[in-house]
């Protein structure tokens, strides 16, 4: 066996010639594949990667090109509803549209989604939305305050930033240096991510955040401000309208430790007590 780059990331694993895919998918050799995979990380990762590749196919097709569906969405919906009433309605009632439908992959894909959603037991088969996600929505809708930036940090089973898709938000990959943190996590959680770093950027202004799980149910947030106007005076942490903690901004940094789950606001204020920036911070533990 020779050393080879890992399939999933770039760590080093021993390359293996065992035909794992074949053995794994064929009934007669499954057992030998399992035994082999329990000892061989390279082959285990092949199987994991296979699932990823299959999933990627679906996504690639969805994003394939900008070409719109040959039929309009309204027409596809109409066809799917007619089909749901009775499949023969498709050609009997809409011969021209159905002909186009059966010649266009994109139209057919949307058609199948809508037709599937109209099945009798479809609603019953839906999974319940996790409470923490519903809380994000309903807490947000209850809140009267509108912040320019919003973050959701989930701390159960490892720390995770939810919704890292905002245009101006960048997540910093974890590095060995970032491992220098204090942690009260139990040993069995040692392999789960316990810290994360990200920053937001607006023109030259940048705010870097570092979140560390500093207790089973708490998180410490460090903030570093870069390229803000010189007037910045204080950085406050607010909850339910009250200032919980306040830091002078003279070093352009602030630390808030032992923050328990809830909705918070981080305020950047100038010497005249004007709010320069208001950031919504949601800590979730579910």
């Amino acid at each position: 066996m020779k050393k080879h780059k890992n399939i999933q990331n770039n760590s080093i694993l021993k390359e293996c010639e065992f035909p794992i895919i074949k053995h794994f998918l064929l009934e007669k050799s499954k057992e030998s594949a399992l035994v082999h995979m329990s000892e061989c990380s390279y082959c285990l990762e092949k199987i994991t990667a296979l699932t990823g590749v299959l999933k990627e196919d679906n996504i690639e097709r969805l994003l394939a090109d900008d070409k719109k569906t040959a039929l309009s969405e309204d027409e596809i919906i109409k066809l799917a509803e007619a089909f749901a009433e009775n499949p023969s309605n498709l050609k009997d009632l809409h011969p021209e549209e159905s002909e186009i439908l059966f010649s266009d992959n994109k139209s057919l894909e949307l058609f199948q989604i809508i037709a599937a959603s109209l099945q009798k037991d479809f609603q019953k088969s839906l999974k319940k939305t996790p409470d923490y996600l519903k809380n994000i929505a309903f807490e947000r809708l209850k809140s009267e305050k509108t912040s320019s930036e919003r973050f959701y940090i989930k701390i159960k089973n490892g720390i995770k930033l939810i919704g890292e898709f905002a245009d101006n938000l960048f997540v910093i990959p974890q590095t060995a240096e970032a491992a220098a943190f204090r942690s009260a996590l139990p040993v069995e959680h040692e392999a789960l991510p316990s810290s994360l770093s990200f920053y937001t950027k607006n023109d030259k202004e940048r705010i870097l955040y570092h979140a560390v799980q500093d207790g089973p149910n708490t998180v410490m947030i460090s903030i570093k401000i870069q390229n803000f106007s010189p007037g910045l005076k204080t950085i406050n942490l607010r909850k339910e309208g009250r200032i919980l903690r306040s830091h002078s901004a003279k070093d352009d940094t602030a630390y808030f430790s032992r923050i328990s789950p809830g909705l918070y606001y981080i305020e950047l204020k100038d010497a005249q007590n004007n709010v320069i920036k208001d950031i919504e911070l949601n800590i979730l533990n579910s």
Partner: protein
């Protein structure tokens, strides 16, 4: 024959139409009721139709929420169709936007320097991650390219069989549906009805896969981390021999410090757990393949023949070779 809508679903339709009417009249507070009624649809949509895992579906939920919370998009509903069918087309478009936003975002490499207490000391600027540039595609992209090539080079009869067997992941194209129609004597409506049913069967079978895969990944990460720690210890202490061949969950060795012995025990326990998870995964992964009985119905071929044909295709279809 597919079975359609129940009274509950009709109630939901009436309720949401009332909510949309009030939103259009300026009663923006009604948006909470909308999310109460449609949260499960939003969360499940990408899991159901695009195989997102639960974490990804959570991210999508937040994305969709942020794009729907002001109610503007919902006001475009014109009652030409059922709300639910119209909303599923909106969710599909949101999925495309979400995936593009994730994909097009510039990935960067940067570091943060921290003091011993984990406080930020310095932020070292970010640069684009070259691994993601077009010149040097990452391994996953190569696998995917190879996969597509192999799939597209298969004869259409074999390609259709493979796709149908794993319909949970792969959709048939219009060309493949036409081939089914021409070669297996069913009309397109029946084929579509059958495909929707098959996807439903595959989805139900896939639920266990997701659960086991999450556990497997978590355990695998723990094993890797422990392995790295142990490797690093033995590298820093070359005078101590690892004796890895004899490691077990109750391994003892006076020459190795107790805290390292504990890590060895932990590693071996996790490896044992990995085997039992893999056994579960084997059951669940094989369950994502459609049963031969269902394949046989749509292809009008005996189960035995299909089983042999599928085995032959898989034997040649190793994207990692």
């Amino acid at each position: 024959m597919l079975k359609y809508k129940t009274e509950d679903a009709l109630d939901k339709e009436d309720q949401v139409k009332n909510i949309i009417k009030q939103l259009k009249e300026g009663n923006s507070e009604k948006i909470s009721e909308f999310f109460n009624l449609y949260s499960d649809d939003i969360y499940n949509f990408p899991i159901r139709f695009y195989q997102f895992n639960e974490d990804e579906a959570g991210d999508f939920y937040v994305y969709a929420f942020e794009h729907l919370e002001n109610g503007k998009r919902l006001k475009f509903y014109s009652e030409k169709s059922k709300f639910s069918t119209w909303f599923y087309s909106v969710l599909r478009n949101l999925t495309i936007d979400f995936l593009r936003a994730k994909k097009e975002k510039v990935k960067t490499v940067s570091t943060a320097r921290l003091d011993d207490n984990g406080h930020l000391q310095e932020f070292i600027d970010s640069i684009p991650d070259k691994r993601l540039s077009n010149e040097e595609p990452i391994k996953e992209k190569l696998f995917y390219k190879k996969f597509k090539e192999k799939l597209n080079n298969l004869e259409i009869s074999k390609r259709v069989l493979l796709k149908l067997a794993y319909i949970y992941y792969m959709d048939l194209t219009v060309e493949e549906i036409k081939w089914l129609q021409d070669n297996h004597g069913a009309n397109t409506e029946n084929i579509l009805t059958k495909l929707i049913e098959l996807k439903e069967i595959a989805h139900e079978k896939s639920k266990e896969v997701v659960f086991v895969e999450n556990k497997l990944t978590e355990n695998f990460q723990k094993i890797q981390k422990l392995q790295e720690k142990l490797d690093s210890f033995f590298k820093e202490n070359p005078s101590i021999k690892p004796d890895a061949k004899n490691w077990s969950a109750d391994y003892e060795n006076k020459d190795i410090p107790p805290e390292i012995i504990e890590q060895i025990h932990s590693l071996m326990k996790k490896k044992k757990k990995q085997i039992s998870l893999l056994e579960q995964q084997e059951k669940s992964l094989s369950s994502t393949r459609l049963p031969y009985k269902n394949l046989s119905e749509i292809l009008n071929t005996s189960q035995g023949v299909l089983s042999v044909q599928l085995h032959r295709i898989i034997e040649k279809f190793d994207v990692f070779k």
